[in-house]
């Protein structure tokens, strides 16, 4: 009896992992096949569509990075008379507010909103909601303070809203400080898999393209109708993505709208960031699972993709449990395990880092014209093993929080040390 229960669990878990593997394989093939067409069609979307745009910059203790972003904002090619930039200084204890004030005094389109200690420090969602009240643009874009966009990013992101069914848009995130160390290099691989292949494929296949929390934006009217950011969810980006789709709109992804981010540069910061993401994603799973299943505005393939997306941070746990049950079955002398057991490692690679399999990352690197970065791909297995306990802890905290009605939405901010500043001069976008 126990043998059969274990066997059913093992087959179910391995089947689930295979579903992700097939999903990412389809993504990779889709992007590869579309690579030629993209080169011909890219740029054709540029139009005379120029709505008013509000750019939100939530910032808390970002003195080392905010100046480079604000300087870049002043260099944007979008007409400044249609631009409103709102820096929300979230009770910073450093010079962030003073730096932003300087720019506000120099440029009429930049505004600063200072939040005091009593109302500030409650997380990004609360900060963005404060900014949203002040925003008056038709489109609202959001940039984290450590980001460095291309000059024409607003045109590229806003251009997607010509289609009235588009509720949100997302641009590509590229790691600025990639050469810094092994951690940043591995994160860069994850980003390439996620943004060069995964997001683009989801957009092409009309699945659930994801708003990533930054380098993207919303139709302001829709965002206000959705009551802005949910302050009780740590993965506010995934939450809004699902809310947009459930409201009958879609998210469009533009791979050409590039923005450079300063990735975390040590394992401790990586762990904190991923723990927050995992917990937030799990909160979204519990919040949206039934709504997605019951939604009449989503098709079957969108529902399947949405559920796979919501489930993604459970997968390291699934991989571990699959390994464990497989282990028990082997010692029971099961004949069925040997074959399925073979798929486990390849499936494990499916959940490496940012949950992109090695072939997806490899193809992304190839399409980006990278020469030797592919050699780092085998090292991604370490990030998988690192993510396993993180996801287990997040799962434990979220479920116990639900059972005992504890608030688990404590926002732990990622510190930005300005390590990416020295790489800005080397960017190809600054070559001219």
């Amino acid at each position: 009896m126990i043998f059969w229960i274990l066997a059913i669990i093992f087959i179910f878990l391995t089947g689930l992992m295979l579903a992700y593997l097939v999903r990412h394989y389809i993504f990779t093939i889709t992007v590869l096949r579309g690579a030629n067409k993209d080169k011909e069609h890219r740029g054709s979307e540029a139009s005379a569509f120029e709505p008013t745009v509000s750019i939100l910059i939530p910032a808390r203790n970002e003195e080392r990075v905010i100046e480079r972003l604000l300087e870049r904002i002043t260099e944007l090619t979008y007409p400044k008379d249609k631009l409103q930039v709102i820096v929300v200084d979230d009770a910073s204890s450093d010079k962030t507010g003073a730096i932003a004030d300087d720019y506000e005094n120099k440029y009429s389109f930049i505004e600063v909103l200072h939040r005091g200690k009593d109302e500030g420090g409650k997380g990004k969602a609360a900060t963005c909601n404060a900014g949203l009240k002040k925003a008056n643009g038709e489109i609202l874009l959001c940039f984290d303070a450590d980001y460095y966009p291309t000059r024409d990013i607003v045109e590229k992101l806003v251009g997607q809203f010509v289609d009235p069914t588009v509720g949100a848009t997302q641009g590509r995130v590229v790691v600025l400080n990639e050469p810094q160390n092994l951690v940043t290099r591995l994160i860069a691989l994850e980003r390439i898999g996620g943004y060069r292949v995964d997001q683009e494929a989801r957009d092409k296949l009309n699945l659930i393209a994801q708003y990533g929390g930054t380098v993207g934006g919303f139709r302001s009217s829709l965002l206000k109708r959705l009551h802005g950011w949910d302050e009780n969810i740590l993965a506010e980006d995934t939450d809004l993505t699902l809310s947009v789709y459930l409201a009958g709109y879609k998210v469009r992804y533009n791979v050409d709208a590039e923005c450079y981010e300063e990735a975390v540069d040590n394992w401790k910061a990586y762990r904190r960031q991923r723990y927050r993401w995992a917990k937030g994603h799990m909160q979204c799973f519990f919040k949206h699972f039934w709504s997605v299943l019951k939604s009449k505005k989503l098709g079957i393939k969108e529902k399947v993709d949405a559920l796979l997306l919501l489930n993604v941070y459970f997968m390291p746990i699934v991989a571990f449990l699959s390994f464990l049950t497989g282990l028990l079955l082997i010692f029971f002398g099961s004949p069925l395990v040997n074959l399925l057991w073979l798929f486990v490692p390849i499936c494990l690679y499916n959940f490496v880092g940012n949950f992109a399999p090695f072939f997806e990352i490899g193809v992304g690197l190839y399409l980006d014209g990278r020469e030797r970065t592919q050699l780092l791909i085998p090292f991604l297995i370490f990030t998988l093993f690192y993510n396993m306990p993180i996801c287990f802890k997040a799962f434990f905290d979220v479920t116990t929080g639900k059972i005992f009605r504890r608030n688990v939405s404590v926002w732990v901010k990622t510190s930005h040390l300005g390590n990416g500043n020295c790489y800005i001069q080397n960017l190809s976008i600054n070559a001219s």
Binding site: I29, L32, L342, G362, L365, R370, R372, Q374, L375, I377
Partner: protein
């Protein structure tokens, strides 16, 4: 040569490669175990379906594919021999441990060789200056 012709040629050679690989796998059935053969099949499917679609000379891709299969065969053969000897020395428990860790060991050569071959294909693209 036109792009369509190159694509058709690639498809034809991909098909022939798969036929050749299946033949090799059947032949090698006596030398290596069932698990090793499945790991070779996984490698071949991933290689033929993805890097074969990238730019680069067909010869180079076929050479890399053949080299990958040889690496996989040698890797599995050596590890199988090692497992047999170790099981003889340390008891049957070692074979169970080997079975548990075999997928992980297989993934090491599959992923590493796959990643390595992409760097060669990139160079090939640079050499020829062909657009994707």
């Amino acid at each position: 040569m036109r792009r369509e012709q190159v694509k058709a040629l690639n498809c034809l050679f991909s098909f022939l490669s798969i036929v050749a690989i299946v033949a090799c796998v059947v032949v090698s059935f006596r030398v290596i175990n069932f698990q090793s053969i499945v790991s070779l099949v996984i490698f071949n499917v991933l290689f033929v379906s993805l890097p074969f679609q990238l730019n680069g000379s067909l010869n180079r891709k076929l050479c890399l594919l053949a080299l990958g299969n040889m690496t996989g065969l040698c890797w599995n053969y050596i590890f199988n021999l090692f497992a047999i000897v170790a099981a003889d020395a340390f008891g049957k428990i070692f074979l169970d441990i080997y079975t548990v860790f075999f997928p992980l060991l297989s993934s090491i050569w599959i992923v590493s060789f796959w990643a390595l071959s992409l760097t060669f294909l990139h160079r090939s693209r640079t050499d020829q200056g062909v657009n994707l």
